[in-house]
Structures are given as structure tokens and as C-alpha cells.
Symmetry: C2
Subunit: 134 residues, 2 copies
Amino acid sequence: MIERIPNLLRAHGIKPSHHRIKVYEYLVEKRNHPSVDMIYQELVQNIPTLSKTTVYNILNLFLEKGLAVMITIDENETRYDADTSLHGHFRCNNCQGIYDLRLDPAAWEWESLDGFEINESHLYFKGLCPECCH
Amino acid sequence: MIERIPNLLRAHGIKPSHHRIKVYEYLVEKRNHPSVDMIYQELVQNIPTLSKTTVYNILNLFLEKGLAVMITIDENETRYDADTSLHGHFRCNNCQGIYDLRLDPAAWEWESLDGFEINESHLYFKGLCPECCH
DNA sequence: TTCATTTTTGTAATCATTCTAAATTTATAC
DNA sequence: GTATAAATTTAGAATGATTACAAAAATGAA
Ligand SMILES: [Mn+2]
Ligand SMILES: [Mn+2]
Ligand SMILES: [Zn+2]
Ligand SMILES: [Zn+2]
């Protein structure tokens, strides 16, 4: 289990440094679509010398190597997701939580996309989550 | 035709100042999902005293009054759209153009959204547009 | 060890957006 | 009309996320 992440990083052409493993661990354990700052604030508690630039560098490397995707559901802060499969997101305007929406990939194939070559797909909803609807 | 826009603004509770009319005119005529800077660079040619802050103010007012929507398909610059109907967008990674995708609203009603109260829906695709696929 | 390469760090720079207070314009009262 | 109040616009400073950059530290091979 503890050995899985280094191998996964290596499989994506990423040398598994301690910091990189910790960032990836954060993404897969929390599954909270964090911002750079959320990751930094958590990891800096155990890695006091951690630089926020390092978190940026690592996340950009993950994006480049296809190990994570960027979520732009928040207008002024990039969020990250280690789940690179095709799925949608919902952001609650009250509790600010970002939830996964499991969607049928077939529903994503729109006829109006004929002629376009698709590299990325993003589906975002915003509103109130079930708990915040009280 | 020239009188329609002031009335539309008034209907949305917006006093139709000259600047506001010009910004709205830009949005509906160009239909290019512009950034603040794109609007500013165009309008400042005829309104030399125009401030970029004014463009920000006006667009934020439009968003607040439901006269336009914010498009976050570009990671580092907000885009705006005067078409507030439910439709998707495609951004070409080559020519940087943003295209409308007319989609069947029925297809947006996912069963996994039960319990969520939806205020906004965004569907973005990125890749190559038909022309850039050569 | 030595030396080269990679990774991390701290700080400065960039850039989009917001804040703020003054200036200008527009509307209202007299 | 003028005076006054309110709304709009403006310029520049402040903010905040992200990137650039160059030095420091860690890693790994010879
Ligand atoms: Mn997700
Ligand atoms: Mn559109
Ligand atoms: Zn909520
Ligand atoms: Zn194109």
C-alpha cells in the first residue's frame, strides 16, 4: 500500500521524491479537490521547510504527466483532482465543498461536437448540496 | 434596434449609461466570449478616457443582474457571455477561439444530481476546432 | 569523494482583479 | 437657470494567485 504510490509515479515518468509522494497521498486520501494552499497548509505541518512553490511545481508536473487534472470550478483559485476519469463536479455555494458527480460517459457524446477533437471535458454545477438544502 | 439595448438594460434594473450600452453592444455583436481586456482594448479606441475598472464594474453589474454569465474555460482570465441560456462551450487550444455548443437541455438532467439544488451549469470542452484539425 | 543532475527553496516579478477615494456626470430640488 | 445630492467613472494602489529565477540542498553515478 505504501509502495503503490512511488510505483504509480514512476509509471508516469515521475521520480518519486518524498514531497511528490506526500502531495499525491494528500490528493488520493482527502479527495477534496484542494487548492494549492490547502495542500501546503496541511503538509507544512510535517515538512516545516516546505515551500509553496514546490507544491505548485509538483502539481504542474502531475498535470503534465497526466497524473492529475485541473478543476476551474472556483473562479479565483485552481483546484486539483487525482481522479482523471471522466466525471463532473458540484460546488456548494454555502459550505464550499466540491463533490464528484458520477456520470454516464455516453451522455457526454454530443452530436454538436462533430468535427471537434476533444482533449478535455469539464462539467461543473454550482448551487446547494443536499446537506445545505437543509 | 439602437433603442433595444437601453430598454433591455432598464428591464434588468440597470440604468443605461453610455459605457454600459457599449459594453453590452460589444458582447452581443462580437459573441466572442471576451475577456475584460478584449472589451477594453476595443472600446478605448472610441472612448479614450475609458478605465479598465469601469469595464470590470459594468461586467460585475451585468452578472449580478443576470444580463451576462461568467465563463471560466480559460484558466487565467475570466470570459463573459451575454447569452445566458443553457449551452456549452469549446475552446480551441490552437486558435484560442471559444465556440458555443448548442446542447439539448434534457441531457443536462443527470440522475446523480438528485438532492442538489442547481443554480449554475457549465460544460466546457477543450481541444482542436474543426478548422484547426486541418 | 567528486561532479553532474535533479529537486527544493525563497524571493521577486507578473498579472488579473478588487479596493478606494477623488473626479466627473447625471438627476433632483429650489 | 443654479445648487445640491446621487450615481457613475476614473486612476492608482492593494490584493492575491501563479510564475520566474537563481541559489541551496539533495541525489546519484563514476
Ligand atoms: Mn473529482
Ligand atoms: Mn456562449
Ligand atoms: Zn453545502
Ligand atoms: Zn481552432
